[in-house]
Structures are given as structure tokens and as C-alpha cells.
């Protein structure tokens, strides 16, 4: 095993762990903040460390500290399966985390003629791993609800289980149509496939090639992640908190965080399969590698422009209104962040100048391309997480029987039809 292999593997693993775990506080904060802004409120924006509030994201870290330090409470009526009761949230959390590990964050990097995957778990059957591990997460929910010895918890667990069975079928069937189209079960090859064009000008993204499968897949992933409008397993208006009713402190937080990791994973999978993964539309990795100097020249004016607008937005919004007397350190925070952003821009510009002067095929170029693709991936991931959150604050929850009816009566036949059409076209084309 060469040094490059180890470096790339460690890099991918650290990146995956960071993207999955560090995203939890950001997503919890984003959820609350977006909810507030959608409803014309402000959301959490007060908590700060030395005047730095970063829009309020510090609140999530305070919440985590609170949950960790909370007294452990164990419901006394639970006599049997105590260890499983404690283990159940960890199962859900761990499975959501593991499912994230097969997402490619950038195209394979070639080091000394050896092609290395930027994937925490460098396996070729990514979609199978995701389907298998993603389905195991439900076991944690079922155990938790069952062992709680509580009617509401049991109903929640039953709902989660039944919902899972109802939607795992359309999910799997829509994936079959996609596998037929891409002719692979490797996530990275799927992304590479999407770098082409269809009809001459449209990017060959999954959403354009397989619109029906994309819609079914996105809907089923909403169910799979137990998010609104399909959050009947929690259903706080009917069954208290569903399977989480008897859970407190960090055990509850495990479920709670697992939900966000699952959402993050779902976003990543949707991006990878339907929205071109880590790639920009029309721009393949090969093209980037060959024309990176042109690309760097295009980026050079764009980055300061974006940073300029970010700073302008920050100066406008990171201040208190006139009627409020105390500033709370916002002015100082804006100043420091402005300097940091400008310094960052200057450094990036210098790096871009250096890269633009490199000959075609230089190793530094391929590293730059990899990092650039990671950035694209993260941006797309955030956009999709925002979509998940926005859907939650737009749609009311479905009634439980409607959820079941939709899964079995509409999505299942539709996905079967989709397989049929796809198969006909694939056979016809080849």
C-alpha cells in the first residue's frame, strides 16, 4: 500500500466523518432558523462565544452540552430488555452514519497511475450498501418503540415499520430503473455518467433522464428519513412523540441526531444519483483537468464578487435595529469576519494564480480539481438539506392511512411502470 493510498483514504474518511457529524449542529440550527424565517420570526440568534454568534449556530453546541450533562433517567416500568432499550438509538444513529460512507465526494484521483476513490468506504456497490444499511436503521426505531412498554411508543414503532415496508418497495424498484439506465451500481460511475449531455444541450442529470424515478425516489427518501410530511411515526399531535416518548437526555439526542444524519445522507444520495453528484453541469472531470488554467481564470473574478456580496449582506443584517440600544458585539464580529473573508479570498486568488500557471496534467491541478469537486458537493448538499427543511415547514403531515395508500396504490405501480418503460428504451437504444 503506497503513501498516496493511505493519505487519500484518511482524507476521505475524515471528510465523510466531518460532513456527517459536523453537519448535525448546523442542520439543527438551520432547521430552527429557517422555520423562524419562513414564519416571519428570527429563530435562535442569541447564543455566542465571546460575541461570536455566527448567525446563532452556537446555539446547537450549547444544546448538545446541555443534553450530554442532563441527568440520566431510566423509566422504572421497563423491566425487560434494558440493554436493548439503551442500544436502540445507537443502532439508528450508527446506521444513518454508515450509510453516508459510500458517497463519492470527488472523482477518482490518479496518483502514479493508480486510481484512488474519494469515498470513505471505497467499494463499488455503493447503492446496494446504501439500501442495505439504510433499511437496518428502522430496527433501532422498532426496538426502541417496542421495549418502551408504552402504547404511544408501540404505535409509533408500528407505524415506522409499516411505513418502511410500504416504501422500501417503490424505493428499490425506482433504484432498479436507475441502475438499468446507468448500467452500474457504483455511485462514482453514476456521477461520471451524468457528466454527459442529453438531446445535445441538457446536462445528463438523473432528474432529466429519469424524472419519474427521481420523483419516486425523493418521496420515498422523505418517508425513509421519517421527515415531514411523512413523520407519522413521531406524530406529536397524536401519539406524544411516537417511539421517542420514553427517551431522555443523550438517548433521545441519539435518535434526534440520527434523523439529521439520515436526512443528510438522503440529500447526498439524491445529489449523487439525480443531480450530478460533485460535478458542475456540462463540465466533466476530464475537461476540468485539461482546461484548468482557463477555469482558474474564470474563477478569479467570480470569487471576489461572491465574497463582496456576502460581506455586503453581513454588514446589512448582522446589526441591531435603531430602537435597540445594546449591540452585543455584532459590530466587532462583522469586522473580524470581514477581515477573515478578505484574507481567505486573497489566499485563494494566489493559489488560483499559481494553478493557472501550471502545465496541463500537473499533479497540483488534479488535487485542486478534487478539492473543487468537494466544494461543489458540499454546496449541493446544503441546497438539498435546505430543500428538506423547507418542505417540512411548508407541508402539513399526511394522515397515516393516506401515507400507506400513497405507497401501495400509487408509488408501487408507478415505479413498476417506470421499470417497464426504462427497460424498453434501454433495449431499444442498444
Amino acid at each position: 500500500m503506497s503513501t498516496a493510498t493511505i493519505v487519500v483514504a484518511v482524507f476521505s474518511l475524515v471528510l465523510a466523518a466531518l460532513l456527517a457529524l459536523l453537519m448535525i449542529p448546523v442542520l439543527v440550527w438551520l432547521e430552527r432558523r429557517v422555520a423562524g424565517l419562513v414564519q416571519d420570526r428570527l429563530g435562535p440568534n442569541r447564543t455566542n462565544v465571546g460575541g461570536f454568534r455566527l448567525g446563532g449556530v452556537v446555539q446547537s453546541f450549547a444544546d448538545v452540552i446541555k443534553l450530554v450533562l442532563k441527568g440520566e433517567y431510566y423509566p422504572s416500568h421497563i423491566k425487560m430488555g434494558r440493554w436493548l432499550f439503551m442500544l436502540a438509538p445507537a443502532i439508528t444513529f450508527a446506521m444513518a452514519l454508515l450509510a453516508f460512507m459510500v458517497i463519492p465526494f470527488a472523482d477518482n484521483i490518479v496518483v502514479d497511475g493508480e486510481s484512488l476513490r474519494i469515498q470513505a468506504l471505497p467499494i463499488e456497490s455503493g447503492i446496494l450498501w446504501y439500501m442495505a444499511i439504510g433499511a437496518v436503521g428502522i430496527i433501532g426505531i422498532v426496538f426502541g418503540g417496542w421495549l418502551s412498554h408504552n402504547k404511544y411508543s408501540l404505535i409509533g414503532a408500528v407505524r415506522a415499520g409499516a411505513q418502511m415496508i410500504g416504501y422500501e418497495l417503490p424505493l428499490g424498484l425506482s433504484v432498479i430503473a436507475i441502475v438499468l439506465t446507468y448500467n452500474t451500481i457504483d455511485f462514482n460511475v453514476m456521477v461520471q455518467w451524468q457528466s454527459g449531455t442529453v438531446l445535445g444541450f441538457l446536462p445528463a442529470w438523473g432528474i432529466i433522464v429519469q424524472p419519474l424515478a427521481a420523483v419516486i425516489f425523493i418521496i420515498t427518501l422523505f418517508v425513509e428519513t421519517n421527515r415531514a410530511p411523512f413523520s407519522v411515526a413521531e406524530g406529536e399531535s397524536e401519539i406524544v412523540a411516537g417511539y421517542m416518548t420514553e427517551y431522555t437526555a443523550m438517548k433521545f439526542a441519539m435518535y434526534f441526531m440520527g434523523e439529521y444524519v439520515a436526512m443528510n445522507t438522503a440529500s447526498a444520495v439524491i445529489i449523487t444519483m439525480f443531480f450530478g453528484g460533485y460535478q458542475l453541469p456540462w463540465v466533466s472531470t476530464q475537461f476540468l483537468l485539461e482546461h484548468f488554467s482557463i477555469f482558474a481564470l474564470v474563477m478569479m473574478p467570480l470569487i471576489p464578487l461572491v465574497v463582496y456580496f456576502v460581506i455586503k449582506w453581513m454588514r446589512k443584517n448582522n446589526r441591531v435595529r435603531e430602537t435597540v440600544s445594546t449591540d452585543g458585539g455584532r459590530l466587532f464580529e462583522t469586522k473580524v469576519l470581514t477581515i477573515a473573508l478578505i484574507a481567505m479570498t486573497v489566499i485563494i486568488e494566489l493559489i488560483l494564480v499559481y494553478l493557472a500557471l501550471q502545465p496541463v496534467g500537473a499533479f497540483s491541478t488534479s488535487i485542486a480539481v478534487t478539492l473543487f469537486q468537494v466544494v461543489i458537493f458540499v454546496v449541493k448538499l446544503m441546497v438539498f438539506n435546505l430543500f428538506f427543511i423547507l418542505v417540512r415547514w411548508t407541508l402539513p403531515r399526511f394522515r397515516y392511512d393516506q401515507v400507506q395508500k400513497m405507497g401501495w396504490h400509487y408509488l408501487l405501480p408507478l415505479s413498476l411502470l417506470n421499470i417497464f418503460i426504462t427497460a424498453l428504451i434501454v433495449v431499444g437504444v442498444s
Binding site: L42, K316, N317, V320, T323, T326, T394
Partner: protein, 174 residues
């Protein structure tokens, strides 16, 4: 069909409605517009930056924290008749009566305490009082303390609160 029966047309049976996705799109458009507007100018959101900004819309009818009123000569107006304590649904008023020796009246409270943690701010004590000795017009809506005992307001504290609506000195009956 009977004339009193009105048949309500059933909506949502068309293909577009049953598809559900156009409706989701319409809804997302509205929420996204709110999000976009509020992100681009968060100071324009019509909210109160409490506690830096205090509410200005507390009306005279607002049931705030209790206070005890005075007589013309600055003594307590309460005659310790126990009407408020009897009317209180949460039993949070504690009165110890004593004889009044200055000739103004016969009886006065030795101790008059309200446990505001128990109080539900229903205002029955104000209604029950025969001599306008207790009112809830201080306009105070938030009470903080470090211990449970801090929330038991004694007679001296209750007498010290001023009414929020215009008067210099709180005189019973005026």
C-alpha cells in the same frame, strides 16, 4: 331534495389536484418567498427584540403583577377581610390579620403575601376585594428570582409597586 340541504361541491378531484406536486410547488413558492425576503433583510421582520425592546402595547385591562393600594394617609388600604384569599382558586394568598390601633380602621394585615409561583393571574382577588385594596395594574409581566422564596411577594413589596397607568400615588377607591 330538501331545500335546507345545501350540497357543497367537492374540490380536489381533478388530475392536477390528485397529482399533488403542483400544490407542493405553489406552497414552496410562498414559504421560499418569505425565507428569501427575511434573509435579505432580517431587521425588517416585525418582531420585538425582547429584552432590549420592551412591549409598548400593554393596556389598562392587562392583568400584571399584583399590588396593594394605600389610603390617603399612606397606610395600607387592606382590612384583612380574607375575601381575596377565599376567592383565590390556587390558594396563593397568605394573610395574617392584626388589630389596627391608629383608629383609622379596626383591622389590618400583619402579613400579606402572594406566592406568584402558585398564582394563575386570574384576577379573582381584585374582583373580590370590597375596598379596592388589591389591584393588578402594575403592568409588570415578568418576575425573575434566584430562589423559590424570591417569588413570594410580601406586603412591603406589594405596597411599593406603582400602578402603570398614570397615577402618582395609589389611593384606594380613586
Amino acid at each position: 331534495m330538501d331545500k335546507r340541504i345545501k350540497t357543497v361541491p367537492r374540490y380536489g378531484t381533478g388530475f392536477k389536484d390528485r397529482l399533488y406536486l403542483p400544490a407542493i410547488y405553489e406552497g414552496m413558492k410562498i414559504t421560499f418567498k418569505h425565507l428569501k425576503d427575511n434573509v435579505s433583510d432580517s431587521n425588517a421582520i416585525d418582531v420585538l427584540e425582547y429584552p432590549e425592546e420592551q412591549p409598548t402595547d400593554i393596556t389598562e385591562r392587562y392583568r400584571g403583577l399584583h399590588r396593594l393600594t394605600h389610603r390617603e394617609d399612606d397606610t395600607v388600604a387592606c382590612v384583612a377581610c380574607f375575601m381575596c384569599a377565599t376567592a383565590c382558586p390556587s390558594n396563593c394568598i397568605f394573610i395574617e390579620a392584626t388589630e389596627r390601633t391608629d383608629g383609622v380602621d379596626e383591622k389590618m394585615p400583619q402579613r400579606f403575601a402572594i406566592d406568584t409561583l402558585e398564582c394563575i393571574f386570574c384576577g379573582y382577588c381584585v374582583e373580590a376585594c370590597p375596598c379596592d385594596a388589591i389591584r393588578m395594574d402594575t403592568g409588570i409581566f415578568s418576575l425573575t428570582g434566584n430562589a423559590r422564596e424570591d417569588f413570594v411577594l410580601e406586603k412591603e413589596q406589594l405596597l411599593a409597586y406603582k400602578g402603570a397607568f398614570g397615577e402618582e400615588k395609589s389611593i384606594a377607591g380613586k
